[in-house]
Structures are given as C-alpha cells and as structure tokens.
Amino acid sequence: MNDTVERKASSRRLAVGPTGSGRTTWLQERYRELLADGVSSSTVLVLVAHAARVGEWRDTLGEPAAAGLSIYTFNGWAQRELRRHWPRLGRGGPEPHFLTADVAQFLMERRVRQALERGELAELTATPQRTALLLEGNLGVIAAAAGVPPEELPARMAGGVGAKESSVFVQAAALLEGYHAALSQAQVLDYGLCLALYRELLRDPAYGEFLAGELRYILVDDLDETLPLAQELIELLMGRLEGGFLTYNTDGGHTRFQGADPEGAWRRFAPLCAQVPLEGCRTATPQLAEFGQALFRRLMGEEVTRLFPLEDIRTEFRGEMLRQVVETLRRELAAGAVPGELAVVAPAVDPVLEHTIAGGLAREGVGLINLTRSRRLRDEPYALALVSLLLLANPAWGLAPSVGEMTHTFRLLLDLDPVRGFLLGRAVAGSFPGALPDLAERGLLPRVGFAKGEAYRRVAEWLTARRAEELPVDVFCHRAFGELLAPLEPAQDHLVYCRQVIQSAARFRSVAQVLPELGGAPVGRQFAELVRGGTVAAEPLIARPEDDRRVLLATPYAYLAAGAVSRVQVWVDLDAAQWLRGDAKELVNPRTCTPAHPADLAWTDAEEEAVRLENAARTVRALARRCTDRLIVAGSLLDSRGFEQDGELAEALQEVAG
C-alpha cells in the first residue's frame, strides 16, 4: 500500500452490510453529497456489477443528477477505455472490433469442432458448445482478469479438478491461445482479450495520469463482485483521486464462478477505507431475514436452534410439483397479489418448468418473464422469417431451407393457416435452389386461395429481384424487414427481435471484414448458419424486474443479479443437486486460476465441498433477504428424466422448517 493512499484514507469509505441493508442507497447518497459540494458529475465514475444496474442508477438519481455521470459495468468501462486509448496500445488500426458473446462462441465452437476432428480433447465429455463456452467465456476471462499467464494454464486447469496435467488441458489451453492470437492479429477482441489489453493499459503510467486528470471520485457498488483487474483499477484510482466510496455485500460474491474475488477485494480495500457498517434489511421481513441466516448456518454445519415453518409442496413426480406450484401462484393472484410481486426461483430453468408455469399463468391471463437466456433467436417467428428470406435470396450459398422454415415464413408473410402454409412451404422448399414455384402451374392456386396467391407472387418477385443483387447481409435484413415484415405491423416483442437480427448481422459483417477465419465463405451464409444453428440467444425482454407486470422466473443467480425483490418467492426443485454447486468445472476452476493460488497445488475435495456448501448458504440467505412476505418451497422425488434427486437442500430446509 503506498503512502499517498494512506494519507487519503479519511476520504475513502467502505459501506459493509448484507443484502437489503441499503448499500446502494448509501452510495447514491454519497454521490448526491458530492454534487451538493460542487463536484461535477462528469468527474465521477460509478462502477456497478451488472448492466441492469446502470439504468436503475440513472432512473433513481433522475435528472439533472444523472446527467453527465459515467456509470459502467467494468466490462463496459474497459471497452470504452480501449476504444479511447487504442492508439496508446500500439496494436494498429484505428480502433478495435468487439465481438458479441454469440459470435465469440460461434468462432470458438468452430475451433473446438476442428480440434475434436483431429482427435484432440478426447477425454472431455462435453458438447462443442459447452467446451467453447468454458474456454472462451470462462477460462479466457478469468485468466485475463486475474493476470494468469497462458503458460500456467494447463497446470492450473489440471490442479483445479485435482488431476495431473494431461494432454486435454494442454490442448484446451493451446486452443484458447490460438484463438486469442488470431483475434489479436485482426484487432478483434473478445471479453478475455479486452481484459488482457486493459491490464496493459492500466500498467501505463500515462494512462493513470490521464484518469487522474479526468476524474475526482470513484464510486463502486458491490465490490464483492469485482474481478481482480477491476480491483486494480479501483486501487489505482483510490490512490490518485480525491476520494472513493465503495460498498461490500457480506451476502455477496455470487459471481466467483466468473472470476470475482470478494476475499481479494476485502484484503485490498478494507484497510484503506473507513468502514461504515450497515445493518437491517429493508428488503425482507425480520422473520425471513432470520430464516435466511438460520438456513445459512445449517448449511455451514451449525445446529438449528429455532424453527421456521414453511409452506411446503412435496410430490413424487416433477410435473405434479409444477402443477401445484401453478395452483399456488393462482391462489396468490386470486388473493390480490400483483404478478410482479411473485417470483419462481429454480436452480435451472428447463422447458418443462417454463412451459408448465407459463401455461398455467396464461390461463389466468398473466404473463411470465424468464430472466434466463434460454430462448434461441431462431425460435422467434420474425427472426426466423428474416433468416429464411436470406436463404431464399441466396441460393448459391447452398443452404436449403427446410419445409418447416418455409411454412413458418410464408404463413407469417401471407397470414396463412397451417395447412395452406404447409402446401406453399413444401412447394417453395422443393423448388430450391431453382426459381420460386408458380402456384398456378403447380395447381396450388385454388388450394391456397387467389388473394393469397397474388400476395405470394409479390413476395416471389421481391425475392427474385434480391437474387439479382448482392446485398450485404445486414442491408438485406433491413430491407426485408422494412418491405415485407414491417407492413404486417408486428408487436413490440417481434420488433425487438428483428432489430436484434439486423444489429447482429451488422456486427457480424464488420467483424468478418477484419477476421481472416471468417473470410472463407460468404458472410451472410455464415451469419445464417450462426442463427439457424441456435447459437444466438434471444435477448430477454425486461428492463427492471420490479416494474414488470409479469411473474418472474429465474435461477438464483439471475434473480440476485437483477436485484429483484419479491413479496412471495417460490423455490422449486428443492431436491435438485444444482442448489449446491461448487465453482470448479471440468476445464476451469476460478479458485486455482489466480496468482494467489500456487500453480502446482491441486484443489482438494474438502475445499470444493466447503465451496459447494458456502455457495449454497450464501445464495439462499441472499434470496431470503429479498423476500418481503412469504417463502414457499416445492420439491419432487423424481426429476423429469425419472431419476431420484439428492435432496440436500430439502433436508436442510426440513431441519430448519421443522
């Protein structure tokens, strides 16, 4: 710790408290004090843990308080700074291209498939999709955030699962390194590279000077969720700026699996700051807060000293459990609950769960919003239509649309019933890659109807004209939307997904222009494969959970990340093993992928067991502290595939509930 930092300790404060103790409110009050003291908002930097918090901060502060204020997630901040200071890094080119997560996944997945074909990664049991996600989305980020050099990765990966270093880890690390090298060469950055380059920037004294000249104060919410690299930035600023206000959630640290280092944050900043303890819980009843603490203690191995009776749904089959959960939600709604006050929390959200709850609520005219990104963009009808039209307009790509895709598309375009849509879809798919069929010649005109036949003819003419052009993929999608889909007056949700397709296409094209490995095949074709392949997820349509008029469905992590608070929470699949999950995965263990952990030291079973229990304990305590009225729990003996479930959390709850 340097002397300059020590001298400034009095203008540095760290608010410490559990969930619901008002840390964010305290931080916002500090900001208002700064404004009142004449500090310009443009000289204040606010770092928040999740993208959703950015909008919340602006809404809460309102105008003019929020005007000019820089509020970022660390990812957003790093990207902004890399754009601004790109020349300083000497990488060439005017600016970097940032990959979206989907395209990054797509690129890494291709490399993984190639590796598998070469016989590499043979010891792994994982889909290429998962391997790509672990390498690009997890390992690459965690290693970069912690500053772990690539040559240490194989040993740390092996140690992370208690194994000896073997070829699979060497191959996986080499895959990641090769991927990053290819991106770097083209000035294309995924999140991991972004962090690695930002580390370089942070090391540049001139950059520190620059920041010190631009900023006066740093405010950081949820310090417990910060990456080590973010902590380096914060420490730099704490040493150079006039002051800093930080908050630390003693219930937090839910993003360790993504590389967050709450213990490191505490070690760095607790000695630097005056601590402000925050108590109480504004987001839960005292009873639920106590219950959460009791459950925490029980999971950490302590005795249960008081009982908290709970409403409990227990069934043999999972389907029956879900039906009873729906009945419970209906009962709450009938008793006057507003949908947005209710939340269903499940350790994993699968189609059976979502469908049952959504269907049951729909019968009451109530919607369900799923915070987990589980829908594929290709399942959105308008998105699928855009991509299908793209294929029809480019027969030279050799990507034949299926009968199903054509049926969907023409049903949408011509407002056809399923039978007539199928007849037309089958005819169009059958004629590909030739000219679109003439309905009269095929004898389909009487079956489809003459009015629809005329509408089809116009679409066919439009496509024929497009076949003669070679429009860039995003331009084509934009035209198709404007000229064919927009006149259908789609609902707001559909408009959002169309926009997502067009924006994704534009970003993909801009990256393809600089990245050689995307140069082999037509850009539009690759984009179509990306969407059709299901890689691209449909963005969940929610701004702020508490404003929503729909019942919330989320995993614990998504629920907590969204900052949700509910009047009634229903915890489902109580017997599922996923309620108690460790951080170690088959290719990445964030606990061993940090310089603080010796590179050759294996992660033990006892350590992982402790992590598993502690993660669960913190999670359920935090959830309970975000419930203002009642908690209902539900579990089943069998999961949806007919396997008996573990029931560890259910056992703990049984002891606490009595």
């Binding site: 049991t125 999709q129 189609p351 399923p418 299901g534």
Partner: protein
C-alpha cells in the same frame, strides 16, 4: 416380534444384525423386503446410523417405492419421521447422485446428460450405419457363403448386428475397458474377427457420446466407480453419509456394481446383500454375474443368515420347486449344469404364521403335452374363463419369449377375454406412442387425408367406422375441413354434420386446427409439452412425455433444423423405448395383480411377481435346452461355426488383453451357461404360483420336444398327485 410385527425366525435373525458383512440368501416369497425394512427401521430407531443414513440399493423402480413405503410405515409406528435416516435408490440413480457431487473430477459437465435406452440405441445405430458405409461388404462377409445372397438372411443379420455390438460395448464398459485404447489394437485382430467392427463402432460411439456431453447407463457406473476410487476424501465422506449399505436382488449384480457397493461400504464397513442365486436370470443378456453373490456368501468374513421359509405357495408347489432343485443338482442330463441351482430348500411357514401357505383342497398342479403350440394356447384359453370366475383370484400365463406372449394376447383379444400384458414396452407406452405418433404425423403433414384420418381415429376410435365422416374425409380437402376459406357454422360438411358423431368430430376438428396453429409456431419440444396438457394425459403419461420433450430439446441442439416432419417417428420411438423414465413412473407403485383379468408375460418379466394361478407354457427344448448340442434361440446359424459372435468376441477381447489363450473355439461353455440360466428361469416360473400351476409342452411328433426339465417335472407331478391322493 418387532414393533408389533411377527417375524419368522430367519427374518428375526436378519433384523438382529448389528454390523459387518452379511449375506442373506432368500428363497422366493421369503419376505426379504420385510426383513430389510425392519432391520433399517430398527437401526434408525436405535440411533445406529448417527447423522448418516442407510443406503438401500435395489435394481427395480418398483422396489424403490416398496422399500420406502415399508420403512416409512415402520418408522411412523415408532413415532419417527417416515422419510429420515435412509435413502432408497436404484443403482443407476445412486451412480448419478455420486457423480453429481464431483462431475468435474471426471471431466464431466455439471449436469451430464444421461441417455435413455432409446437415445443410446439411436446413437449406436447411427454409428453402425456410418461404419457400414465405410465398410460396405464387411458385414455380409460374416455370413456363411451359402446364405450370403439370401436377402432375408442378410436383413436378419443386419437387424441383429447393432444389438450384438451393443453387448460388446456393454461388456467393455462393465470391465472398464475404454474405447480408444482398444481401437488402437484393432490391427492385431484378423480381418474376419467380429471384435474388429465392434471395437471400431465402440470408439465411434464413445466419441459421439462425449461430443453430446452424454453418458449411457453403463458409463454412470464406470464414472461413479472411478470417482470413488480416485478420490479417497470424497469416498470417506460418502461412507460417513451412508454407514450402512443394503443391496437387494444381489444375484443380479454385475462385477462393477458389486465393486461400487463394496467400495462404498468399505472393508471395515457394513454391507448387507440380499438375493437368491436360484433366481439369477439376467446374466446371458446383461453384465450380471450369478456367481458373484454365491462367492460373496462363501467368503469367510461374511456372516450368512438365510431366509428359507416362504408363505407364498402351497405345500405342493413348494415340494415341486424343491424337487426340481434336487433333480437339477443330482440328475440333470448334462453334469456340468448341475450347479445351476444352489442347495436351497424352500420351507413352508409355521402353521400359525399370520400369512400361512395357501392350502387349496386337492392337488392343483397339472402337466400336459400338446401336438402344437396353437393347441396348447387353445387349451389354456379354454380353461381361463373358469379361473377368472373365481372371486379375488389372480391368473397369469407365462411364455419364454415376447413374441409368444404377444401371439397369445392376440388370441385372448379375439376371444374377448380380458387381459393385460407385462412387456418391456408397457401397454400405456404403446398407446401413448401410437396416439401421439399419429397426431404428430398429421401435424407434420396437414395436407394428408390419411394422416388426418388416423389422427382422428386415434382420438375418436368410432370415427373409423363412421361412413359419413369417411365420406367427408374423401370429399373435402383437409384445408377446407380445418380452415374453410368461407365462413360457415360448422367444420363438418353434410351429411357428416348430421351423423351420430357429429358433435364429437366437430369439436375435434376445431381442436386439430388449434393444435396445427401450435405445431407451426412452437419449437418441437414446447409443442410436446403443450400437447401433454391439451390431451389431458394421465400423470405418468405426462411425465414420460416431459422426459421425451427434454430429449427432443437435446436433439435440437445437435440438429437445429429438427422440425415436425422428423418429430413424429422420433417421438414414437422415444416413447416406446423410454425404458428408464417409464420404469420410474409406471412401475413406482409396484405391481398388484387384479382379479378378473389374465396377465400375459414372459418368464423374465414375471420375476418378483405372483399370482394364484400360473400357466407355464412352451417348456420345450428350444427354450429350455438340456444339452449344448441343442439349437438355442440365440444361435445365429447363418454365421456358420461362429454362431455366437458376441461370445467369441468376448473371448477374443480377453486374448487381446492377454488374459486368455485363444484356442479352438469352444462354445460349449457358452451354451452351458445358457442352460443353467434357463433352469433358473423355470424355477422362477414355478415359484410364481400360489395355488395352481400348469406346465405345458409340445410333443416331439411335431419337431419340437418337451425339455428334460419338463419331463422331470411331469414325473414329479404324477407322483405328487399320487402322494396327495394317498394322503387324502
């Protein structure tokens, strides 16, 4: 006595167990579940498990419910919570549970996909097809030259080949032999070795599973075992969680299963294994090894407490079973097979036992020979109405093969005799698969009149005979029926609109239109879930469909363009073959035979069940061989001298691993193993009956021959009848 229950002396001895290794050889109907349940309850009530719990492992889902209910009831009687202090698992659920704690240690994802048999076979068949494309003539070269051009034989061989490969793969996994190292040694095998293609497919299959992030059931056990072996801390923690391990049906254990449970119990631990070596009937088609339990019983450190008393069957049936056991051990014509049954005499229970042996007046065991299979079936069918007329009397007819059982079921159907089949694919599954499959086929091809007709007939069976509806179907285009361009009051055209089924069909046609809208707007997995609700399925059927929907979702990740057109056939297969989940949901309540209906099943499927009257059919040499020279069902004669390629492949594998010297091919040992198992199968058949037993066989004049076992039983029955008459 135990808590108000009266235990038999053998049961009481088991319940008195305090620790260590205990073997409990139990005769059929001895009440082993009762004994184990009482033991568990006693240990829990006395605090013998501390903070841990008793782990009860059984091999059937019906056993899981049974144990849970019994132990729960006993605990409640003692004023204790019914669900604490124990866990009941099938072996595969246990393995999955173990793996879920530390999947990363086995380089597995946190929720590895566990494939049901249907999905496993789907992937295996894909790999076989791929292998055959790369080796277009190899398969046919296994055939005897004289039949190579016979298209029917070639088709049969192509049909059998994937199943044989599956057996080799299962064998390799049961012995923890990884695919890649074996495939690397394929060059040492001769070009005509059956093991060669099997290992090549195994390697490809393994690679395919890994790319899917998936495990099959065999993998579950291998990984769980390796995890426990490689993680001593983790193992120790599980041993503290489960200080007692109980295994039911231990005679069906495989070497790997035995190793897994022994590892969990620990060398100084507490392991109770209950089984009946005389009912080991799975070894010829699974990895079960009947000698494992026998050897366990003989280990010096293992305490043995037998359960010999059985209240299930009448004295006469018990005497017959015991006589059969002695005949096998002392007089079987093939000496090497005399060890098929253990020296284990069934004893009737004490006269004052609360559940005494049935005591029907007279001698109720019959044997008979017939000129043909159809004569035998016809005879039995003729006797059934009388058996069914007895109040609260349950009846079953058992056959050696599924096909024979199905033929008999069709005969009952024609004669209007109420029946239920107990087959691998349950009737509920068949109905669900058929009905759903027809509906999906229609939704995928809504322009197809025939598909529409089948879908309607599946939901309104009478529609098939409704002339007005059939005429409307022929005369009206489907799109006009379902989505008329011009507004009209009803969907059905005249005269269907005036027919007897008009209201029903009108409603159905509208619903079909709604379902079509769903089908062409939802992803396939979501459609299945929606249909489960729309069709208002029974809970168990809905649970199966939910599992199928999850599998379809998985396939969508692999084949993103999977749509309705492919969905129907895949869903049919998935529902029919949904072995694990179907067992979990349909069998959970256990089996309770009902009076007034004939149960038709195979000897294998009858194990663990019982009825008042049992007919054992087709006790011929073909299915119950007496010597290795007899042709057996598993013999693939079209392969010539290598008519048992799977067994030969196993021997080659042992040789490849340096464990065996490959001499002249001798399949005698293979056949002897089968003879032994069929003898035990017959023993199982005999011991299903409580009061009345019928044994039938076909006479040699028609080319078949009654088995030697049947002849021995026939003789015993003749003498038994005399003894009975003398006694009377």
């Amino acid at each position: 006595m135990s808590g108000g229950w009266r235990l038999r002396s053998g049961q009481a001895a088991v319940v008195a167990y305090t620790g260590g290794y205990l073997a409990v050889p139990a005769v059929p109907g001895a009440g082993k579940t009762t004994a184990l349940a009482h033991l568990a309850a006693r240990l829990i009530a006395e605090g013998g498990v501390g903070k841990g719990r008793i782990l009860v492992v059984t091999y059937q889902n019906s056993g899981v419910s049974n144990f849970r209910e019994r132990i729960g009831t006993l605990l409640q009687e003692r004023g204790l919570p019914p669900a604490r202090g124990y866990e009941v698992r099938t072996i595969h659920s246990l393995a999955a549970q173990i793996l879920r704690r530390r999947p990363e240690r086995r380089l597995l994802p946190e929720r590895p996909l566990i494939l049901d048999e249907a999905s496993r076979d789907h992937i295996l068949r894909d790999e076989v097809r791929r292998w055959r494309r790369n080796h277009p003539d190899t398969l046919q070269n296994f055939l005897e030259p004289r039949v190579r051009q016979d298209l029917q034989v070639r088709a049969r061989w192509e049909e059998a080949f994937p199943g044989l490969v599956r057996q080799i793969v299962a064998h390799c996994k049961a012995h923890r032999l990884a695919a890649a190292p074996l495939a690397a040694q394929v060059g040492k095998l001769s070009a005509d070795s059956f093991l060669r293609p099997a290992l090549e497919v195994y390697a490809a299959y393994e690679a395919a599973l890994r790319r899917e992030g998936a495990l099959d059931f065999d993998d579950l056990l291998v990984h769980a075992y390796e995890l426990l072996r490689g993680e001593p801390e983790f193992l120790e923690r599980l041993r503290r969680r489960w200080p007692f391990v109980f295994e039911d049906e231990a005679q069906d254990s495989s070497p790997l299963q035995e190793e897994l449970l022994t590892l969990l119990a620990g060398p100084e631990g507490n392991l109770v294994r209950v089984g009946d070596a005389n009912q080991a009937i799975m070894s010829t088609f699974t990895n079960a090894d009947p000698d494992l339990f026998r050897r366990f019983c003989r280990r010096p450190e293992v305490l043995v407490r037998s359960l010999r008393e059985s209240g299930r069957s009448s004295r006469d049936i018990i005497d017959l079973a015991n006589h059969f056991m002695r005949w096998v051990r002392e007089e079987h014509p093939w000496a090497a097979c005399r060890d098929a049954l253990e020296e284990q005499t069934i004893q009737p229970v004490a006269p004052d036992d609360p559940h005494p042996n049935p005591n029907p007046p007279g001698y109720h065991i019959l044997t008979r020979r017939f000129a043909s299979q159809s004569e035998e079936m016809g005879h039995v069918v003729g006797r059934l109405p009388r058996a069914l007329a007895v109040p609260e009397h349950t009846v079953a007819v058992l056959f050696p093969t599924n096909r024979q059982a199905e033929d008999f079921a069709r005969l009952l159907e024609r004669r209007g005799i109420p029946y239920r089949t107990i087959t691998r694919t349950r009737p509920e599954q068949q109905r669900l698969a058929q009905g759903l499959g027809d509906l999906l086929d229609f939704l995928a091809a809504p322009h197809d009149r025939e598909a529409l007709g089948r879908a309607v007939a599946g939901l309104v069976p009478e529609a098939g005979a409704d002339a007005a509806w059939q005429a409307a179907l022929r005369a009206t285009a489907p799109e006009e029926l379902l989505f008329p361009l011009e507004e009209r009051a009803g969907r059905l055209p005249a005269p269907a609109a005036a027919g007897p089924l008009a209201a029903q069909l009108e409603g159905l046609v509208r619903r079909l239109g709604e379902w079509l809208e769903l089908a062409w707007s939802l992803p396939p997995d979501a459609l299945l879930l929606q249909l489960a609700e729309e069709l208002d399925l029974e809970e168990a059927d809905a649970a199966v469909l939910q599992a199928v929907a999850l599998e379809v979702r998985r396939r969508l990740a692999r084949e993103p363009q999977l749509d309705l057109v492919q969905l129907g056939p895949q869903v049919r297969e998935l529902v029919r073959q949904a072995g694990h989940v179907a067992a979990a949901v349909y069998d959970r309540q256990g089996f309770h035979a009902e009076a007034g209906v004939v149960y038709v099943t195979t000897f294998h499927k009858a194990k663990g069940l019982e009825w008042d009257t049992v007919y054992l059919m087709q006790l011929n040499e073909g299915d119950f061989p007496s010597t290795p020279t007899v042709h057996m069902r598993g013999d693939l004669d079209y392969l010539g001298e290598r008519f048992r390629p799977d067994r030969l492949a196993r021997r080659e594998l042992s040789h490849l691993l340096g464990e065996e010297v490959l001499g002249e091919e001798d399949l005698t040992a293979v056949k002897e193993e089968e003879i032994r198992e069929r003898l035990r199968l017959l023993y199982v058949g005999i011991t299903r009956a409580r009061e009345n037993l019928f044994l039938g066989a076909v006479d040699p004049s028609r080319g078949m021959a009654p088995s030697q076992a049947f002849r021995a039983l026939e003789e015993s029955v003749r003498r038994g009848g005399e003894v009975r008459r003398e006694r009377a």
